[in-house]
């Protein structure tokens, strides 16, 4: 175990040289690299943490916005449903009004058609009945129907118990006390109009005038006129009173019955043909 002082000094020198060499070749570069890497990692960690915090904040923001969108979507849906419901109701009301309007139009058209049909039917039925009755009466008694009508009218005028006709007769009696010139001035008030659907001869006119004078008095003024619309009938009109015998009454009864038949057919579709009124009723002439 020897101690060499030169070796000691040389080794100290060598050690110092080695420190300087390693400082240059090892510690400096490697420590700088490690520190830089550590700094880089620390920076990246800090940035990652920062980005993480930003991401969390952004996520929270997105979550809040999504919640708002959900809420707004619910509101929009509710609003849309309400609008759709209102629109649907409006459309229903509009459709119902249109249907009602069309139905009213159809009913009006049907009513007009029915009225026209009834008028036409009334005209034709009267003509047919008149023709049939004339042919039947002619075949049975060999009389003409107009004469029977007039006879029937005269008979009814004479035998009829009518307070209205009595009132007219009493009113006409007032003129019996008047002077002729005064009576002349009231000729229009005293006038009784005999309307027939056919032309009548002078003899018949005389019989009618006699019957009227007998019933209403001498002061009545008679005027004859032809009215084809009466359809095989005769009518007396004076001072707001009217007495008539014609197929018009029968036809009016027929018209009422036909109207009832139409109404029953509308009420019970498919059974209208079975709701015809019983024949023979309301066929009596009215005076």
């Amino acid at each position: 175990m020897t101690i060499d002082f030169f070796t000691i000094i040389a080794q100290i020198f060598n050690f110092v040289v080695l420190i300087m060499l390693l400082r240059h070749f090892l510690y400096g570069p490697i420590v700088r690299t490690m520190d830089a890497r550590e700094h880089h990692i620390t920076t990246e960690l800090d940035e990652a943490e920062l980005k993480n915090a930003e991401a969390r904040q952004e996520a929270a923001e997105l979550k809040r916005e999504r919640q708002e969108l959900e809420d707004r979507r619910g509101e929009f849906l509710s609003q849309a449903q309400a609008d759709a419901e209102k629109w649907r109701n409006d459309l229903l009301v509009q459709a119902r009004d249109e249907v009602e309007e069309r139905r009213a139009g159809w009913q009006d058209a049907i009513e007009r058609e029915k009225t026209g049909f009834l008028a036409n039917l009334k005209q034709r039925a009267g003509e047919q009945i008149y023709e049939i009755a004339q042919r039947v009466l002619g075949d049975l008694a060999n009389l003409d129907l107009e004469r029977h009508i007039i006879d029937s009218f005269i008979y009814r005028l004479e035998t009829m118990d009518d307070s209205g006709l009595d009132t007219v007769a009493a009113r006409l009696a007032r003129w019996q006390k008047m002077k002729p010139e005064e009576i002349e001035a009231t000729v229009l008030e005293r006038e009784a109009v005999i309307s027939t659907a056919f032309e009548i001869d002078a003899e018949t006119k005389g019989r009618i005038a006699a019957a009227v004078t007998k019933r209403l008095g001498q002061n009545v003024g008679l005027r004859f006129e032809e009215t084809p619309e009466l359809i095989c009938g005769i009518e007396l009109k004076t001072q707001g009173y009217k007495a008539a015998w014609s197929l018009q009454n029968y036809l009016e009864t027929l018209e009422e019955n036909l109207s009832l038949a139409f109404m029953s057919r509308e009420a019970e579709p498919g059974q209208g043909t079975e709701a015809e009124p019983a024949p023979g009723k309301e066929t009596e002439p009215r005076a």
Binding site: I3, T7, I8, Q11, I12, L21, L22, P29, I30, V31
Partner: protein, 242 residues
Amino acid sequence: MIDISPDTTVLWSWGPVHLNLTIVFTWLVMMVIVLSAWMATRNLKFHPPLSRWQNIFEAVVTVIRNHIRDILGPHINRFLPFIGTLFFFISFSNLLIVLPEYRAPTGSLSTTLALSICVFIAVPAYSISEVGFRGYLKHFIEPSFLMLPMLLITEVTRTMTLAVRLFGNIMSESMIAAAILSVVPFLLPVATEAFGLLIGQIQAYIFVVLASVYIASASGMGEIRPGRDRAIRSDNLSSKGG
């Protein structure tokens, strides 16, 4: 007779200047260390994958830095050249015993004494730079003036023990290896060499730890270091971890 020290093998001399095996093998060790360091740092990479040499040196330097941080505090780069070079020199000196005809410089008492003298000088140098000249002198009379002689003796003796411990271990390992080789020339010397490698690394670590502790105790850093170091380390960790 077994030559226990390479100092005795003088290759060249000129007056008091002579070149023995200790100095020659020291230069060899220095060349190997510097060459390895140069290979590791000539192409440093910032991002992985790192080269094999860079990986090894970064791992070793990281261990040394952590060791310095634990014992000497946060001024790592200030102590790293001295402490690190002590470790690399002793470690490489003991590693190269696998080479034939190689004699570890650390098996020379002159070398270990030289390293101990370096520590002996470094202790007051670092201590004075840390706490000042008066602070350094003050630690000799603490806790009492009566401690001065004992502390002065301690300064010298611990330097001597540092040198003798390293020299004794390496020299004895060489002696044992030579003795076993002469008795059992096969297999057993291999195990002895492997054991010698382990002993060499342990001795390098012990030398470095003791040198660090001597510096820390002289500058008073050792008394307050542990708690402060833990606080600093926890601060660093917390700052890294965010």
